[in-house]
Amino acid sequence: MTFREAIRKAMADEMASDKNVVLFGEDVGVYGGCFKVTEGLWKEYPDQVIDTPVSEEGFTGMAVGAAMMGMRPIVEIMYADFYTLIFDPIVNHAAKTHFMSGGQFCCPITVRLPEGSGTGHGAQHTQSPEGLFLNGTGLKLVAPSNPSDAYHLLRASIRDNNPVLFFEHKLLYPTEGEISQTPVELGKAKVIGNGLDVTIIAYSHAVLTALETAELLREEGINATVVDLRTLNPLDKETIFREVRKTGRAVLIQDPNGIGGIDAQVCAAICQDQKTFASLKCRVLQFSGKDTPIPFSKDLERLTIPQAKDIAVAIGKLF
């Protein structure tokens, strides 16, 4: 099953089990969604798939209100870049509802945000804005890297009683994988491999880069463990610390630029944990996107994102 199909199946399965699961978004009905993620969903669940006008702030705010009434809305924001339009309903309202009402209201909304570059859409259709939501206390941030995690994490996000932002890297949509029978909880990272030389921490599309890097390193006789964060907030610090202590070398990879991002947060956590910090044999290496808007030109666009070859060379110098 592809990543795209896994996301559709997660929505369909949740819609089947709970009538209060409703999808709002632009062109999510007959059109099938801008990335064909919702294709055909409206035929099976005509009451639960709702095409909206081009009013991101309005329909996201509306979904927040409906969630406070006990619905479990899913909102598809056509491109994650339009996050600017939903900051108010999500950060000022959804994130704070449970707290500010003294626990009277929950806001179980899931916002799906197709993100990332590599598609040649220019700087306003290719961003990965997850880092910007780290300060929005009360939000959960999820970014799967494969179809199985996408399926299980989206189901878990919809069922969670908190607002969840679900980031889907657009380059992952056609990737294939088996769907595991075992559900995945929010807040749990996944460990891939058991290399004892270096721990590479990544999430979303950058996990593919991390796996490619690990492969290149193996040819050099360096064995890596890859940690797929899966949930970006709250971070699974327990797994991060355990896996970094195991190798004493931490390498962080993310697609968006590095200032104030997820990896900066992971790095800070590693540095603040006495035992993990003490276990480090070298400095932490952080590979992030270039600090520039995403260029249109194909080659330039590719260069803004960390590349496995460069990372493998840099890691090799640690030994």
Binding site: V22, G65, A66, S101, G102, F105, C106, K140, N162
Partner: protein
Amino acid sequence: MIDKNLCADALRLMLNSRFFEEKTEELFKAGLIHGTTHLANGQEAAQAGLCLALNDGDWIVPTHRCHGFTICKGSSAQAMFAEMFGSRHGLAKGLGGSMHMPDKEHYNLGSSAVVGSGVPLATGIAFKLKFDSTKSAAFATSTAQNPKTCPPVPVKNLSVAIFGDGASSRGSVHESMNIASIWKLPVLFYCENNRYGMSAPSDKMVSVDRVSDRAAAYSIPGKVVDGNDFEAVYNAVMEAAAYIREGNGPCLLEVMTYRFKGHSKSDRRLYRTSDEEQMWLLRDPILLLEQKMIQNSYMTQQEITDLEKSCRADIEEQAKKALASSGEKLSEDEVLNLVYATKEDRL
């Protein structure tokens, strides 16, 4: 003229609201309440007129100037004072303050302090109310159906999106009106026009003569009423609510009123004249209702004076009780545990 008991209920709520604001101002001046407050003295008819015309199960999303609406929806004044004292006995356990007094039991979502942002939330409540009332694809995405032309689906309850003249310029308000119109959502857009958005006069900031004129742009009914006349407000809300309950979609009602006090406690009111303020004091909604009730022999002056005394004594008593336990705050752990909901939270 509306019925005697209704007038008596209205007068009691309006007096409670006024005395609540007066007590709040006194407590702020005495330094007993932290933060800021937004008083609604002078807007009592707009608040009581709305709430008395609603049914049980009808939701409101008030503005940051929310005390009167909260009282009129039935919340305990003691819990409201407790909220402003920051105590655990407050409506929001002391985490909200003067601008945030949600009360689920009384169908009050609480206000957004980002003016105009409560409007989409109220539209979302209306979505849920309609969603629960329909068994068909009322919001159909299939090309064969257009929800705009679907026959009306009657709904039991509605939600009220309350906003001020200032908030009427927010994009979220316009987007909500468009969405509510195309899906015929049971929401009453209730513009409480008190003539100023902080210091900005609405006639300088709003492109139309009346905010309600904008209803035409969304193909919904719009009406303007005298917000200082309880009866006018009540009747207009009853009429709009009946239209909405029939399933015809939203209405926009603009109630023209005036805030006697400044925007917040720091306001020196440099943007308006004392002549203007004096003129409006003569149109005090409580005074107008009392005069009407005496003219109609609903109450005597003595009965009104007695009611005023008992309302004031009640508010004093509730403030006193809230003050007595104002030192009882949430612990740091309890605060941290409220950031995220748990699986056990009831939706």
